[in-house]
Symmetry: C2
Subunit: 216 residues, 2 copies
């Protein structure tokens, strides 16, 4: 598949939503869907959906709608989900364990190959069939396995030196649950941040400033 | 504090970042920061920061910069972090446990008062001092405790009926880790979605379509 450039992040961020929804339809045995139905279910305009899909060459026929299975597969290919990019996860605390399980069972596109921690109490434990390794063995492991992506579930204070080590090992892709801004230091890194606290603070703001609420 | 309206979500979503960063500075003992320094550290222009803060009345003085402690406190107030909105968490699986611990230790603005699940194996277990309750007791508990917010860590298939129950109990605020779109049904609900799979699929797309990468 040719590399695509210049597609806006807002289009890219809608693709997983299309994919999820089409997959659900496929599981329910739906074979065809009109762009009007699709737009009603997704809360987007039909024209928005057409525009988005046209970025990738266009699918569906005027007056006929979309073939669910085909479109789902195509979007999956566009997203690159048939790859099995090797991933390592650093930080086997509560969140790290949850994310490791999630990665093992519920995701496409990545294969978790190693979990690391620096705490004796966690090293040697098994999470979904993977043994938590000593962070001291990170270099040896990565030189052998050559993972593409690192999941960071460590405290902010640990991320800077850790991301330096991972970057030096050739890793350029990060799924970052910490609050350290990797892109400020490494502009060429591909980073997806999941900032749980920011999401929660935004919710707090919206509750506090909701014009519908008269009392706290 | 007066209710604020018409402030764009993109401004609101930057506030937690300001808050986190100022808190870090305060912990380091920094008392004053220029808007130039602030912008360099946050990767935003000084004019962007001034514009954002002006939405809330403006802070800082020309040529003097910002007083860290004061600005941090003010932004915390704007975010409503001094509230302790009662929250219930539904779904005590891996992710639910991680989020419950996170809510108990690392967040401001909310107090977790109850955890619920429908699985016998989980009911009765203790997570950070809270006993996991039977989901059958949700109505009784909520009528008594009147929580403001619900955290949803349940599979997609369970969310529709669950959000109906919570909505009927008066809950209008949701921190939603499932893929069910609550706002499609309840337009007046305040929802913050954390879609882990979407974030991961976006990362997969960006790796697959990165012009810098020549091989998978």
């Amino acid at each position: 598949m040719p590399k695509r450039e210049n597609i806006s992040m807002s289009v890219i961020r809608r693709l997983p939503r299309y994919y999820r929804f089409l997959k659900l339809l496929r599981e329910k045995g739906v074979t065809r869907i009109s762009s009007t139905e699709l737009s009603a279910k997704l809360g987007l305009t039909a024209s928005q959906i057409r525009q988005d899909l046209n970025c990738f060459g266009g699918f569906g026929q005027q007056g006929y709608g979309y073939m669910v299975d085909q479109l789902c597969t195509e979007i999956g290919n566009i997203l690159g989900l048939s790859h099995a990019y090797k991933a390592v996860l650093i930080g086997a605390g509560n969140l790290g364990q949850a994310i490791a399980s999630h990665l093992s069972f519920e995701t496409e596109g990545f294969t978790l190959v190693g979990i690391f921690d620096n705490a004796d109490a966690k090293i040697g434990r098994t999470i979904n069939g993977l043994t938590v390794r000593n962070i001291d063995t990170l270099e040896r492991f990565c030189n052998l396995e050559k993972p593409t992506m690192a999941v960071l579930c460590v405290p902010r204070s640990a991320v800077e030196s850790l991301s330096d080590r991972l970057y030096a090992l050739g890793i350029r892709c990060f799924w970052n649950f910490s609050h350290y801004d990797i892109n400020m230091k490494y502009g060429d890194a591909i980073v997806e941040n999941v900032h749980l606290n920011d999401s929660l603070m935004t919710l707090c703001y919206r509750i506090t400033n909701d014009p519908m609420r008269t009392t706290k």
